[in-house]
């Protein structure tokens, strides 16, 4: 039985447990929010969502107040508007008025509300002293002066990611959001996933801005500057130009990058295909060693290694799993190492003169490219990482009319890729891509799923599982005949934590596990256009699958440029050259000495 209520005289029926905010949205009434975040325990602390409930003395916060039978609600009368104005004035009283020079200028939720509510004067003044910026990490910059204490970042860090780095300290006017016991993020355990930056309503947490360095490289005639774009960018970049979430803008993105002056426009997808071939063979090699050779040093399940936030999490919280994680570098780093060796040689450019720029949906990628061991080409393999948001800004600065750009193609050879690489962008995608290749290597036949989609591991459920019984194996893989491959997929580090704990307790057994640090996978990364809700995630994922299905080649091992790379340069998967350029090792960061040695 539903509850009958009225909002602004509009009668409607909603289920028990619905909040006023949710009910209002159902009938197209927008109630402003700042601290509210979908799907989380909300503190109801900012009070900007207050509404009038008939019979109640005080105004009620719509985000946490559940409706009752017969409730009559007013969301926009004078009393409500005045209350909201005062709340906004109070928030602004201790907020620096630096809108023109703020990273969030015109994308700030507080600024937007101040505009909507016509705030023309702030009658209150705060005497708070200026706090220092926290620029201690490669990925994330915090400006505590701009913080409005909404605690979205705290909720994401603690509830969704279960990392628990950020928390409030002190009380009242003195409250600040800080990392654990220390003042700087760089001194705390932070995995750099950037989910805090993704949900911050104001300019208090952002990515480190590296656009100037990239402009400089582009304008330096001595430098040969190439760019790689992660698969998740093509389904989200359009949002920076007011296109709806899920608009595929790959062709226009390529055109924009070329017009920005990059010498070659390449694709991280190439690195993703390469990752699948290496990682697929690694999985098979681990299975063989375990099942045939009974080698006890070989660890299963094998975890994927593409997500640098997950790698940081594993190294800091579960270093005992280091040998379970695939030794494959992430697609970004494989790309960098190949670009500055194979490709640089091919076109006769010194690797010292080549600059590799990545466009990533991710703040942790900024951390990853700076890891001291990521220099296998002889110099830093990837020089600069820009987020989707930073690329959006560069395109605007260049005066490009993005929406009306023509569709262009990526350059060869490192821009050639398959549909398997596209789906690296979303949760379940790396698993599906790997299975497409592994199954075919072992049986010579296509993966037995409709449209090649491993449906049980698709979608936004936190932890997903699938089983696949291998039949009719080719002679080399007889030991896998009849083996049921058990796989699992988790996205968001809180879900990763659940899987890891269940394995360590012996409750679950798998062969292969995909982990992506961010909810929804890379399409929901910390560097994507704000604000990423589940609805936005679904739209972006759907676009990615569309891109995959529209391709002629949908399996990584069919990538012709990759075949050439192996023939001319690498030899074979897991070969000596691969080992040197494409594989890595991990550190025990619970061990403080070891952590200090590899500090970025």
């Amino acid at each position: 039985m539903g509850l009958k209520i009225e909002i602004n005289n509009i009668p409607l029926e909603v289920e028990k447990g619905t909040t006023i905010l949710q009910a209002a949205r159902k009938v197209g009434i927008n109630i402003p929010t700042l601290c509210y975040l979908e799907g989380l325990q909300n503190p109801g602390s900012c009070r900007v969502c207050v509404v009038e409930v008939e019979g109640a003395n005080a105004l009620q916060p719509a985000c946490v107040t559940e409706v009752n039978e017969g409730m009559k609600i007013r969301t926009n009368n004078k009393r409500v508007r005045n209350a909201r104005k005062i709340i906004l004035e109070l928030l602004l009283s201790s907020h620096p008025w630096e809108c023109n020079t703020c990273d969030r200028n015109q994308s700030c939720e507080l600024q937007t509300l101040a505009e909507e509510y016509g705030i023309r004067e702030v009658r209150f003044q705060s005497t708070q002293e200026k706090l220092p910026l926290d620029e201690s990490t490669p990925g994330i910059v915090r400006d505590p002066n701009k913080c409005i204490l909404c605690r979205r970042c705290v909720a994401v860090c603690q509830e969704i990611q279960k990392v628990g780095t950020l928390g409030p300290r002190y009380r009242g006017f003195h409250t600040v959001i800080s990392p654990g016991q220390v003042d700087l993020l760089g001194d705390a355990v932070c995995v750099q996933c950037g989910q805090c930056a993704a949900v911050c309503p104001v300019g208090a947490i952002s990515e480190r801005d590296d656009t100037e360095k990239v402009w400089e490289a582009l304008e330096d005639p001595q430098k040969y500057v190439i760019v790689q774009t992660a698969p998740a960018i093509r389904a989200a970049l359009g949002e920076c130009f007011n296109l709806p979430p899920g608009t595929l803008v790959k062709g226009r993105m390529v055109a924009a990058l070329r017009r920005l002056g990059f010498d070659k426009v390449f694709d991280t997808n190439f690195g993703a295909d390469l990752t699948i071939v290496e990682e697929g063979h690694e999985l098979l090699s681990r299975l063989k060693k375990k099942l045939v050779d009974e080698d006890k040093t070989v660890k299963l399940p094998m975890f994927t290694s593409c997500s640098p936030g997950w790698i940081n999490y594993m190294e800091n919280f579960y270093p005992e799993l280091r040998d379970n994680v695939s030794t494959c570098k992430s697609p970004q780093q494989m790309f960098g190492a190949v670009a500055k060796t194979y490709f640089a040689d091919e076109i006769g450019i010194r690797k010292e003169d080549m600059v590799v720029v990545s466009i990533m949906p991710c703040t942790a990628k900024k951390f990853e490219c700076n890891r001291p061991e990521m220099v296998d080409s002889g110099v830093q393999d990837v020089d600069y990482v820009l987020t989707t948001r930073e690329l959006g800004k560069m395109i605007k600065q260049a005066g490009l009319d993005f929406v009306n750009l023509p569709e262009e193609e990526m350059d060869a050879p490192l821009g050639i890729s398959t549909g398997a690489a596209d789906i690296f962008a979303n949760t379940g995608g790396v698993m599906e891509a790997a299975l497409r290749t592994v199954y075919e290597i072992v049986t010579g036949k296509e993966l037995p799923f409709e449209k090649l989609h491993v449906t049980p591991v698709q979608g936004l459920e936190g932890v997903k599982e699938a089983e696949l019984t291998i039949k009719e194996t080719l002679p080399d893989w007889k030991f896998l005949e009849g083996v049921t491959l058990k796989v699992a997929v988790a996205h968001g580090l809180g879900n990763a934590n659940k899987i890891v704990e269940s394995i360590l307790k012996g409750e679950r057994e798998y062969h292969f596990i995909e982990i992506m640090a961010c909810p929804g996978g890379c399409i929901g990364g910390g560097g994507q256009p704000r604000l990423t809700t589940d609805e936005v995630r679904k739209a972006r994922i759907q676009a990615i699958y569309k891109e995959d299905e529209g391709r002629k080649l949908r399996k990584s091992h069919e990538n012709p440029a990759l075949k050439e790379l192996y023939n001319e340069f690498l030899g074979q998967p897991l070969g000596e050259k691969s080992h040197q350029l494409l594989h890595t090792h991990y550190f025990d960061k619970k061990n403080k000495k070891e952590k200090e040695k590899v500090k970025v």
């Binding site: 705290v154 628990g164 300290r169 009380r171």
Partner: protein, 163 residues
């Protein structure tokens, strides 16, 4: 104070053992963080970084949560208390008769600010609104003894008595 006596009796390791035992039996209880921190402060006299980290580990919660609670309640101390606690009254009467100068004098003589403790752990400095000794303004209290009509010069003589 009982805590001070304990401090001299137990080794650091024994203190952590004692705290662990206390937390062990109640770890899963909701809202147990505050009792755990009370106990920790009772054992150690204050809550230094390593104790806060230990409590977080034992209770399987982020250290940021522990830090949030410790800094929220003024009862919890992150600095050790000295052998002698100097309380300067900043109530109205003392204030108008120059309590600020007395605070400055303590700060200059001992090199500590309110809430801090000297390196030799002899003195801590704190501030209170009214000691109820307005007739002696400006007043200070060292441990349980009130010293009235303070001047910066007199302060130095008084402190000598405790050294």
């Amino acid at each position: 104070m009982a805590t001070n006596i304990q401090e001299t009796e137990l080794t650091q390791e024994e203190k952590f053992q004692q705290l662990m035992k206390f937390i062990e039996s109640n770890r899963e209880k909701k809202g147990f963080l505050i009792p755990a921190l009370h106990k920790a402060q009772e054992i150690f006299g204050y809550l230094p970084a390593e104790v806060r980290e230990f409590v977080a580990e034992q209770m399987n919660i982020p250290v940021s949560t522990v830090m949030g609670v410790v800094t929220f309640y003024s009862f919890f101390r992150m600095n050790p208390v000295g052998k002698h606690n100097i309380t300067v009254c900043m109530g109205t009467a003392c204030y108008v008769r120059g309590a600020k100068k007395i605070v400055e004098a303590v700060e200059n003589t001992l090199g500590i600010k309110p809430g801090e403790t000297t390196e030799d752990r002899m003195f801590s400095l704190s501030i209170q609104r009214c000691l109820g000794a307005c007739g002696l303004a400006p007043a200070i209290m060292i441990d349980h003894e009130v010293h009235g009509r303070m001047t910066p010069q007199k302060l130095e003589q008084v402190l000598e008595l405790y050294k």
